[in-house]
Symmetry: C2
Subunit: 433 residues, 2 copies
């Protein structure tokens, strides 16, 4: 159902982008480019085979923007709905839907929930678009119409973690401008943290003791990852003349923070990704693979998955027989779901990387970066996207799709049904390691 919804949006988008009116040149776009762009937009990835600003007409750009909005809103709504469906166990439902009078009236709640998600989404975008437009207008001498258009485009693209930009060099022209880069970063961090967490924080940010496990884990992973990412990228790229080297200290900090935050799904870049050291690419691979929060516009395996796996390991290292967090016990099935999502994702990335290396002449560092970026719906690239063979483009299209809906559908499929055996086998230990 989820797959067919996203699939339909992509097919409609492909059809519209195939109209001659959608391109700047007035010529019909090749099918694979239209399909790639539509998939990238609906899956809010941001990888492109053609330059968004130069290749597509204003009509084409508006279509892309509409696909981003549909895709981002769709994934946020669906993921939140799934969260509600397992809500008896989630403890989130009563907070998300305060109006619900009985615990069984679920279908009635849906319109209310969707309204909340839309309000959150559109409301945030209006605020961000306003800030960006004002800055474009006052700081960069843009005509008012262009400033508003660019502000709206980047607001929608940022909040939905899409990473599409009408500028050929993404946000590299604003690398030292905190008005632009910080606003965009806050937009994609809030959008990527997920609706239930954002909702809970907005409601009860003064009462951290009441926070759900979801919110605690999300924050406990997101904040350290932002800090570690900024430090590591800041150190490795410090004197790289192609990236942080030419910037002053404040600019270095801002650019390193942006590079760290954007890797966790957003996909904009304020420094030249192609010029980064290969060890920074590898580090970025890890950030892109992890991604953002559940039930938001972020991709990857999600910070909740990583956080749970870390909790399991921590419990085992301490010799605890149960995995506890904030005086709550994490059920074994949830632990296993995190493991399944994490390991199957590693396997998927490994296999696709091998196949793409076979199909293209590029090196492991670049191919793996491209594959993880597509899987995590990030959209950063070392610059090989357009050069890939057609078969590689098709592979990336499939991977963007699977990366977008895979973890969510896998989790919900696992969480929504559980079978109980009426008997238990005797235990037998084995050794590992």
């Amino acid at each position: 159902m989820v797959a067919s919804g996203f699939g339909s949006a992509i097919l409609i988008g492909t059809a519209v982008l195939s109209l001659p009116i959608a391109t700047e040149s007035g010529e019909r776009a090749p099918f694979v480019d239209a399909l790639f762009t539509a998939t990238s937009a609906v899956c809010v990835t941001g990888l492109v085979t053609v330059d968004t600003g130069q290749y597509w007409s204003t009509f084409g750009e508006v279509v892309i923007l509409a696909l981003i909005q549909v895709g981002g809103l769709g994934i946020m709504t669906l993921a939140t709905l799934f969260a509600i469906l397992v809500s008896g166990r989630l403890g989130l439902r009563t907070q998300l839907i305060a109006q619900a009078e009985t615990k069984t009236a679920r279908l009635r709640d849906v319109p209310h929930l969707v309204r909340n998600v839309v309000l959150f989404n559109v409301g945030s975008e209006v605020v961000i678009a306003t800030i960006l437009s004002v800055r474009f207008f006052t700081g960069y001498d843009m005509p008012l119409g262009e400033a508003v258009y660019d502000g709206v485009f980047h607001a929608i693209s940022a909040f939905n973690n899409a990473g599409f930009s009408v500028y050929s060099d993404s946000l590299m022209g604003f690398v030292s401008d905190p008005w632009i880069t910080l606003t965009v970063a806050i937009a994609f961090i809030v959008g990527g943290i997920g609706f239930p967490v954002a909702f809970e924080l907005a409601r009860s940010w003064r009462r951290p003791r009441t926070w759900s496990v979801l919110t605690r884990i999300t924050l406990a992973v997101t904040v350290p990852l932002l800090v570690i990412g900024t430090v590591v990228i800041g150190l490795t790229e410090f004197s790289n003349p192609g990236t942080l080297g030419p910037l002053d200290d404040q600019g270095k900090f801002l650019a390193a923070f942006f590079a760290s935050a954007t890797a966790r799904t957003a996909g904009f870049n304020s420094i030249d990704v192609a010029a980064m050291h290969p060890e920074s690419w590898l580090f970025t691979d890890l950030l892109m693979f992890i991604g953002g929060g559940s039930a938001g516009t972020a991709g990857g395996i999600k910070v909740t998955t990583l956080g749970l796996l870390a909790l399991v390991i921590w419990a085992e290292l301490r010799g605890e027989s149960k995995v506890n967090v904030a005086r709550r016990r994490v059920p074994e099935s949830t632990q296993r779901q995190a493991l399944a999502i994490g390991l199957l994702s590693v396997g998927l990335v490994a296999v696709v990387t091998m196949v793409l290396m076979h199909l293209s002449p590029h090196r492991l560092d670049q191919v793996m970066f491209e594959v993880v970026s597509a899987f995590g719906t990030v959209g950063l690239s070392t610059g090989i996207t357009a050069d890939l063979p057609r078969s590689g483009h098709v592979l990336i299209i499939v991977l963007m799709f699977v990366g977008r809906i895979g973890p969510l559908t896998l989790f919900s499929a696992l969480a929504l049904r559980e079978r109980a055996r009426l008997f238990e086998y005797p235990e037998e230990r084995t050794i590992v390691g």
Copy 2:
């Protein structure tokens, strides 16, 4: 205790290899080369900064062989002892030590167990050395003395999964000779499958229903991995002029099988690793990371760890609330131990790869191959080992050591103590993915 035992052996080996008599030229070997070689030998890795046959004298080679035998026998004995220590749960103890009259007489059993391990080790080596020596003597016109020396050297190196060879091109001169490559492959597969499993198979290979969970998982992962490895390497390298291309069909099969098997810790090569496609390197990385059986001479995270993680995922995909294998339930703590070993190993390899990329000018595909090879004590290399800076050599030395004793000590530390809480927190589900 384990670390200090291995550490002492490495230091003694370094001291002896630093004697002028140990080198062919009669000059004192540089400290880092002696330390690197001693560590590689004791940890049965096989990575080398200098050519074993050309750089070291016969005395030096015999020292290396002694270090390999001490290291291989040491790890096999210690790992088997640890298996016994958790034996009430393992169900292995009564099979391994049939003479033990009471369940508590553990200290008494140790000499008997060590004798069994030594008999298994030395007995197998004698058989392998005989086959290899006869073949060297009859098939390659070697003088008898040289044939016996080379046969003994490769038998000990193979059974202990050390991967050291007195030939500069490892076993590439015998790529199409099944007498050599199959004998060596069987040697390192048997040595790498682990003493408890080999013992159980030898005792009751006719009664598979009585096999322990350890034996079942080990076989259920080892056999498919050998088959998949042969097929994938055979397909990707089929027409590569530098590797399988020039061989006939039987030679291709033999070489692909050998390349698949050797990656799982042995470290010999019968085709040119440097000439393999980068996608084959990546695939080999996966095989090297997995490694062989627990309680043998193999390295990596071990097939048991991978098998358990796969079982956990399979149970979750099927909606089972418990993880069962062969009518036995796998305890949650064992599942968590497998997860801890797997994920901490991934983290270690990722961090060391990033640091080594920072220290050296090599590409990700080559650096990652080197790092996984050192972690898994494999010893295969794309050829960059000698070129690494001194700091890189030191890093690899540390990694070989950690890769050798890390998983075993981590597992035993976790398995031998478990704390029970007297109360349980209420459950709270969270979403992942």
